[in-house]
């Protein structure tokens, strides 16, 4: 996993609540057995005017020029600014894969759906929860910025800095922060506790033998 330490990146605003994972990456693209290549289909139904198909050359498709990712101002954006309950719905990890493949490394929102939030950390994406009022300030700053807004996100300091010097701090769970900072393989870490798992399993089997029956 790619580590996340600090990022200075252009903000793309998606001012809308309850953006679900079907919207982030529609189901027809979930047929892939790979982890990469989802970027061209990120927000497919918002971004293009036609119905997207897997393995299609997206550069030939009619685009929705109203959608922000199609506007010159937001090219190469790496920070997504979103509304409440971002990532609700399906558990598909294809959603963070598509965001990452497109180039987003950080998502800022007033709240996230639990499974999506969790999936971000497994893919080197930092989801930041800020109070609605602070998110609104960033939305406004983005609108006011002539050539787009660049934010600096410092995970070590847990701090977001706006170009005018305004700073917002954010909370994040220590374990997840360390994994992101170091780009750690969580499975490897867990397997360091293999003896504890084996010990637990033996006690568990003694207490609940029916859970270990062969079928």
């Amino acid at each position: 996993m790619q580590a996340f330490t600090t990022l200075t990146g252009l903000v793309a605003p998606l001012e809308r609540d309850n953006v679900d994972t079907d919207m982030i990456i529609p189901k027809q693209f979930l047929k892939s057995i790979k982890r990469s290549g989802f970027g061209p289909n990120l927000f497919d139904e918002l971004r293009y005017l036609d119905e997207g198909q897997p393995d299609q050359d997206c550069s030939q498709r009619p685009v929705n020029s109203d959608f922000m990712l199609n506007q010159p101002r937001y090219q190469k954006a790496s920070v997504l600014l979103a509304g409440r309950n971002f990532g609700c719905g399906s558990s598909r990890e294809h959603a963070p894969w598509a965001l990452l493949d497109y180039g987003f490394r950080c998502i800022i929102a007033p709240s996230f759906a639990d499974i999506f939030y969790n999936n971000c950390f497994k893919n080197g994406i930092l989801p930041v929860v800020l109070p609605q009022a602070q998110v609104d300030i960033i939305f406004l700053a983005e609108k006011a910025a002539k050539d787009g807004l660049k934010l600096t996100i410092d995970l070590q300091q847990q701090l977001i800095t706006l170009p005018d010097g305004q700073q917002f701090s954010f909370n994040i769970d220590k374990f997840r922060r360390n994994c992101l900072l170091q780009g750690l393989d969580e499975i490897g870490l867990t397997l360091q506790q293999a003896d504890a798992i084996k010990g637990f399993e033996a006690r568990h089997q003694q207490q609940f033998p029916w859970l270990f029956a062969e079928h």
Partner: protein
């Protein structure tokens, strides 16, 4: 010290080790797999040279991509017309074979939607932790199990370590008091709950459903309720063990037998929240206030009773919500103030992990028996949740009732709930659907989904528009 909630008990009995930041390594008893969210996890194992930690904890079945016409199904995987879907289903078979995981493949009579298959096999048992790379894993909480969806990285983590790194959620109790009125089903109850607390109301919580209405539900009904906990933002929903739970499990293929059955039942009876347990939040609904529900928008919280009207965004004070309603009505092609019963339908879908169990099919069949689908309905699909549900329905003659009514009787799978196979809506089409999500494009590009109970969907198929099932003759 206060007593423990059901969730506290399930959590405590699975902690391998706790970290000082509140997260823990949690042991997983049952891991269910399907073709969409597992290929990248198996690939990860291969690349790292790892083996599954405990093979017998895993059970797999293909469901999302499988075609549902008998013509395609006759040929097994080779009969899948879409080559990309074919590769994905084949990859699940290959991976299960390579690693030695028990799979009910396409040709197996036990194949079906993973959340229908687990419980009907008795592979989901009270007191278990159950995970699957699918958000509707909350379904299994109906058995007093701690069950929730995970992403693909976690699928790989569970395969490799039999554990999950996770943080304890908060406790919420949702009580539905009073007996359920006639014509009001489990689906209406859960849609009413989502309407009340909102699509993010349960975020960060494990929700226990309780109260007389919940207790009166069959296991099928309880699964419908827990299935949609995630639509209220709660990863896990659950219901305490009672006689209904135990009766359902007895004799199921994966359930314990003999002496172990007695031992298990004695333990299972303890899987209830203590009377002095404290919940972080309690929400109460009165069953008498719940009417048959229909969603009118693009989020499950956008729901109303069948006797009411489509809301007017101008009446909404919160600007973000107003904008949300406005956008939803535009997508749905509905006008503020129009009667829900005036919404005309193009297709009807009876199926999905929410409502494709035998009881759901019986309820729908009872409504359509001796009647015929309205001429304006292009298609009414009935898709059983598993091969075993299909067989049982056919033994009861339900398939004949559906076909006589002009409905299509299909092979088991997820089908039009998420339209990964050929079953989908066309642009602008309205569908009365017994599934769980009415998101934009969910059932097909430009499709318009209205979530309802099986009986309401069946009645809508006959009438061509929504009707109050309580007035049905």
């Amino acid at each position: 010290m206060a007593g423990k909630t059901l969730y506290d008990k399930l959590w405590d009995s699975h902690v391998v080790s706790a970290r000082d930041d509140g997260s823990a390594l949690l042991y997983i008893d049952r891991h269910l797999l399907h073709e969409v969210t597992s290929p990248q996890a198996f690939e990860g194992l291969r690349i790292a040279g790892r083996q599954p930690w405990r093979l017998d904890a895993n059970l797999a079945t293909p469901d999302h991509n499988v075609p549902t016409t008998s013509k395609e199904r006759e040929h097994g995987i080779a009969g899948i017309a879409d080559p990309i879907s074919q590769i994905q289903v084949k990859t699940l078979d290959d991976n299960c074979q390579h690693f030695g995981i028990n799979e009910f493949s396409m040709k197996d009579q036990r194949q079906g939607i993973v959340h229908v298959v687990g419980p009907e096999q008795g592979a989901t048992l009270p007191g278990m932790t159950v995970v699957c790379g699918d958000s509707h894993t909350s379904t299994h909480g109906a058995f007093a199990a701690l069950a929730h969806g995970i992403g693909t990285s976690e699928v790989e983590h569970v395969l490799a370590t039999q554990c999950l790194v996770t943080k304890k959620m908060k406790n919420m109790q949702v009580r539905v008091e009073g007996a359920l009125p006639n014509g009001v089903t489990a689906k209406d109850v859960v849609l009413a709950i989502i309407g009340k607390i909102g699509t993010a109301g349960g975020t960060g919580y494990a929700v226990e459903f309780a109260g007389e209405s919940i207790r009166s539900l069959s296991m099928e009904g309880r699964m419908t309720v827990c299935n949609m906990a995630i639509e209220a933002g709660a990863r896990a929903g659950m219901i305490a063990v009672d006689e209904t739970t135990i009766r359902y499990l007895q004799g199921r293929p994966f359930a314990p037998q003999g002496e172990q059955w007695e031992q298990a039942v004695a333990y299972w009876r303890t899987l209830v929240s203590d009377s002095d347990a404290v919940f972080d939040d309690v929400v109460t609904l009165q069953s008498a206030d719940i009417q048959p529900q229909v969603t009118w928008g693009t989020s499950p919280e956008m729901v109303a009773s069948v006797t009411s009207q489509v809301p007017d965004p101008e009446q909404e004070a919160d600007p973000a919500r107003r904008e949300g309603i406005h956008r939803a009505l535009q997508y749905m092609g509905l006008k503020p103030g129009m009667a829900i019963s005036d919404i005309k339908l193009d297709r009807v879908f009876i199926g999905s992990c929410t409502n494709a169990r035998i009881e759901d099919l019986r309820a729908a069949a009872e409504v359509v028996k001796g009647k015929h689908v309205a001429a304006t309905i292009k298609q009414a699909l009935v898709v059983p949740g598993s091969g075993l549900v299909k067989t049982q329905a056919e033994q009861e003659g339900l398939h004949q009732i559906f076909m006589d009514a002009g409905m299509e009787w299909r092979e088991p799978g997820c089908s039009m709930c998420l339209a990964m196979n050929a079953d989908k809506l066309g642009v602008g089409e309205h569908c009365a659907s017994t599934s769980n999500r009415n998101f934009e494009g969910r059932q097909g590009f430009g499709g318009r989904t209205h979530l309802v109970s099986p009986a309401m969907a069946a009645a809508a198929a006959i009438a061509g528009h929504f009707v109050d099932i309580r007035q049905w003759h």
